[in-house]
């Protein structure tokens, strides 16, 4: 059960000079197209027993003497495939800067302060309907060296597995209304405007907890599996 061919017109190329770091880190030779084998159609399976009870609560999972500073938000949505079917029981991981735009990372030297109560990472397994959710604080934008005055829009990084290694995906979620999105070179390595818009999570008042936490909804779509009509013989024995 191999996957549909990846639509490269919706995906960033490797070599994208507006994002300068990509210049020396992108292959120059064409990628070799492979038809799927077991090596691509299978992938690691994770269990709920591998996660801790606070792993999807970034407000509490690193709190030392109180809650972290920032806007309390819920991010929730579904992991689907191109066939519009849920991807159940798959691992979703997320990481982000704190409300001031600073990462808890030994290599981040931005002058905004570390928040002593915020780690900035979490993870969840989707349920049988492909649904996931987590609670966090809204990350801040921050400067980075691309041009001297480049600023990342507020974003949350996502890592998703799916059920086969060829579905493996890392992306970033942006927030509705952020004026920095249209300026960001990393956003604009994506060659398709609709594909960019699909990375922008809308505010979801219905998903919010009144007087407590506002919600953003973010669905993720992984590659779909081909159905097995008149299947070629795929695997040896």
């Amino acid at each position: 059960m191999e996957f549909y061919q990846r639509d490269r017109t919706l995906q960033p190329a490797g070599y994208t000079p507006i994002y300068k770091t990509s210049v020396a880190r992108s292959p120059r030779q064409a990628m070799l197209s492979l038809q799927g084998s077991l090596s691509e159609s299978t992938g690691p399976v994770f269990g709920q027993n591998e996660l801790g009870p606070l792993d999807n609560d970034l407000i509490r999972n690193y709190a030392k003497d109180g809650d972290p500073i920032g806007e309390r938000i819920i991010v929730h949505g579904r992991v689907l495939d191109e066939n519009n079917r849920p991807v159940p029981h798959t691992l979703v991981e997320f990481w982000q800067a704190n409300a001031g735009g600073r990462y808890r990372h030994k290599k981040d030297t931005y002058l905004a302060p570390i928040d002593p109560n915020f780690g900035g990472c979490g993870r969840a397994l989707t349920d049988e309907n492909g649904y996931y959710f987590f609670r966090t604080i809204k990350p801040g934008p921050y400067p980075w060296r691309n041009y001297v005055n480049s600023w990342r829009p507020a974003h949350i990084h996502f890592s998703v597995f799916g059920s086969g290694f060829a579905q493996r995906l890392i992306t970033q979620m942006y927030f509705e209304g952020d004026p920095l999105i249209k300026e960001c070179p990393i956003v604009h390595v994506i060659p398709d405007e609709d594909a960019i818009n699909r990375l922008i999570a809308p505010i979801d008042l219905n998903g919010s907890i009144p007087l407590d936490t506002i919600a953003y909804k973010f669905d993720i779509v992984l590659r779909g599996r081909r159905s097995t009509l008149f299947e070629n013989r795929l695997e040896g024995n």
């Binding site: 070799l32 090596s39 691509e40 299978t42 690193y62 900035g120 993870r123 059920s163 695997e235």
Partner: protein
């Protein structure tokens, strides 16, 4: 007008960025948060098969080794079986003590990545053609817009490599060597050295899988 196809579109990839460690291997970012961490140690004392180490560097187009990349590998067990329900090969057995997946960051100081695992067996490929023992790699980093897929093969599997259907797809035979790791038996465990060159001379063959 015709009917519309109701497929969804795959979400666009974005770079993992320089701080990928926070989310995926927080200890390397410099803090401890999860009770259970995913690591580069893939085999325990019960796992069947030959214990091996895989080590190497990831080098950019200027010849500079990356220090901020993250690598994941996915492989079959020593019988050539993947620990996954879609592997219905009629041979060997799934090993309950081997998931077959590992994750690591490149060491900030040495610029070396390392996995401890077992050597995989032959896996059945398309149309009944066996694939030589191999390990599937996925590399992400700052400056890499979409994860790079490649495979590592073993230099002590010359006969199997010679008929491997994927290696044989590589038209420029010289480039096949970029996927073959070199075994070193001088230490306590066999080490396979596998450097990945992102660009330029000896550029690794990457796959659109």
């Amino acid at each position: 007008m015709v009917q519309s196809l109701d497929y969804l579109k795959e979400t666009a990839s974005q770079t993992a960025g320089p701080y990928v460690h926070i989310g995926l291997i927080p200890k390397q970012a410099g803090f401890d948060i999860f009770e259970n961490n995913f690591t580069n140690i893939m085999a325990d004392e019960n796992t069947r098969g030959e214990r091996i180490v895989i080590e190497g560097r990831v080098v950019d187009g200027t010849g500079t080794p990356l220090r901020d990349a993250l690598l994941e590998i996915w492989q079959a067990n020593s019988d050539g079986r993947y620990n996954h329900e879609l592997d219905r090969q009629r041979k060997g057995e799934v090993d309950a003590d081997f998931r077959g997946w590992g994750r690591t960051g490149i060491d900030f100081d040495t610029a070396i990545y390392r996995f401890e695992t077992i050597k995989p067996g032959v896996v059945g490929g398309r149309n009944g053609r066996d694939m030589a023992p191999h390990i599937n790699f996925w590399i992400v980093a700052r400056g890499i817009n979409i994860g790079l897929n490649t495979r590592m093969y073993f230099d002590d599997e010359q006969d199997a490599n010679a008929v491997d259907p994927v290696l044989n797809l590589i038209e420029q035979t010289e480039r096949r060597k970029t996927l073959i790791a070199t075994r070193d038996d001088s230490g306590p465990m066999p080490v396979y050295r596998f450097d990945i060159v992102l660009q330029g001379e000896n550029e690794t063959v990457f796959f659109d899988v």
